[in-house]
Symmetry: C2
Subunit: 297 residues, 2 copies
């Protein structure tokens, strides 16, 4: 796999790390960046992440054989619109959005139909940092990338996007758009809602400064994701509103049931839930099994 | 502050670390341990955590001037019963339970009234490890300890328990039993319910092995506390069922509201919630401000 010209629209952690990883793998000849911040793009050039840049999407994608769209979900549609009519005939387009149905809808709305060489994708990776300065070549090493090709998608385009991510060390899976959005609603979007919701609920309590003072390590870990970017998460909620609102409502019902189980003092039922959860986490989440075994705080 | 004889009932992380910290501070002459596991107690002796031990609570507390009860909440009542009639006249008793109303009720049930020299307490500290082997002298350094003395409590006993914890480097606060249980329900018990509930919900989904496979770092942090000891957490739920069930029900209602806000696509409202939560966490939780700023995973 060797790309001749990669266009990265949005040279932040996600887009910049793809460019760095492909360069490190010798899998790309030229990288053209695109974004709004001159300072960020100049930095990306000086660090060798991109060779050159344009603030204009249409110009940036000109003659690229691969285009990676790493902009917030709320900016997908305008980004697609800006590249319409400017892509090379055989150019492949893929993206890094955290919800896929909305990106597919945006592409359909802009192009009239889903372009055969557009492969919706989502690298499940990230750190707490932002911008080209945060990019690093190893971000995708051993991380999952989900591709959600549709019936209209050219299998060759999917294969090339897969090869690109594999060159970065990622493990690539394919699933349907709907399944992706459900899986991510469960493993990422719902937890973020709970963390935001919990911190907000505590912040609205009387004497909330005192309450936070007594929060221990478990609370810090649990709520870390509540420090995430509010605008990005608004966009994710709006983009995945069907799967997420359904899952959140189901979860709320389950928490109501749990509340009643506690009120009734049904210790046997509580023990069953907690034991199942501990077993599942210890089994499925690698690397830190049993790591809170005795902490009551 | 110097204790002549400290009895530690339950020589695990919490009890063992208190003994180690007091020894390191030169604040105790003799430590007598009590527990069921001979291996654990022998280890505690060999590591100098305790000087000697008994498997019998009544024997262990004999002639102690301070008794620290560090047993699970479900074992408090039987432990109090075992020390009835065996305590020295001026002995002070305190505990480390994560819920306080139930411990006070247990003490009242056993002693007929709340003993004047019993000071309910809760050190907000813990690690993922268990047993005397996990104990270390610095566990309480700069950590919070909450004492919940009642009207019947002898102020001198409270002052001595405070001095004991301060000798370990802890910051001691006093609050009412009810307020303690509400604060802990919010900052510790509710988050644990959400983490247990989320992991259990995912584990019950179809193809749950695939779902966990796509969980990223944020999910790992968020659900770490779901690996906690199920028996201990059953006990905490039963001990704090009133405050916790009420808080969980309120939270479930709020998550239902959030679900509808998402379903309606009310981005402005979502942004307000997320921004408030991020601001609160960045302001109140020390040490890792803004640490998930850009992670969408």
């Amino acid at each position: 796999m060797k790309l001749r010209r990669l266009a990265v629209i949005g040279v932040g952690l996600i887009g910049g790390s793809l460019a760095k990883a492909l360069r490190a793998a010798g899998a790309v000849e030229e990288v053209v960046g695109c974004g709004r911040s001159k300072a960020n793009l100049d930095l990306a050039v000086s660090q060798g992440i991109i060779d050159r840049y344009s603030h204009d999407v249409g110009e940036a994608v000109t003659d690229a054989d691969m285009v990676f769209v790493a902009v917030p979900l709320g900016a997908m549609r305008e980004t697609f619109a800006a590249m319409r009519g400017r892509l090379a005939a055989d150019a492949i387009v893929t993206d890094g959005g955290s919800a896929k149905a909305s990106v597919v809808a945006d592409a359909r709305a802009v192009f009239g139909e889903l372009p055969a060489r557009f492969v919706p994708g989502h690298p499940i990776a990230g750190t707490e940092r932002n911008g080209a300065a945060a990019a690093f070549a190893e971000l995708y090493q051993d991380r999952r990338v989900i591709l959600t090709p549709l019936a209209e998608t050219d299998p060759d385009a999917t294969a090339q996007v897969r090869a690109m991510w594999e060159a970065c060390g990622a493990e690539v899976s394919e699933m349907s758009v709907a399944h992706h959005d459900e899986v991510l609603a469960a493993t990422s979007h719902l937890p973020h809602m709970l963390a935001f919701g919990l911190v907000d609920a505590l912040a609205r309590m009387k004497e909330n400064d005192k309450i936070f003072r007594y929060a221990a390590g478990g609370f810090r870990d649990f709520t870390r994701i509540a420090s995430s970017n509010p605008v990005m998460w608004r966009d994710i909620c709006l983009a995945n509103k069907q799967a997420l609102s359904a899952m959140l409502a189901t979860f709320a019902d389950e928490m109501n049931d749990l509340s009643q189980t506690i009120a009734k003092g049904d210790g046997e039922h509580l023990l069953a839930i907690f034991s199942r959860a501990k077993a599942a986490r210890d089994r499925f989440v690698d690397g830190d099994n049993n790591d809170a075994g005795g902490s009551a705080e």
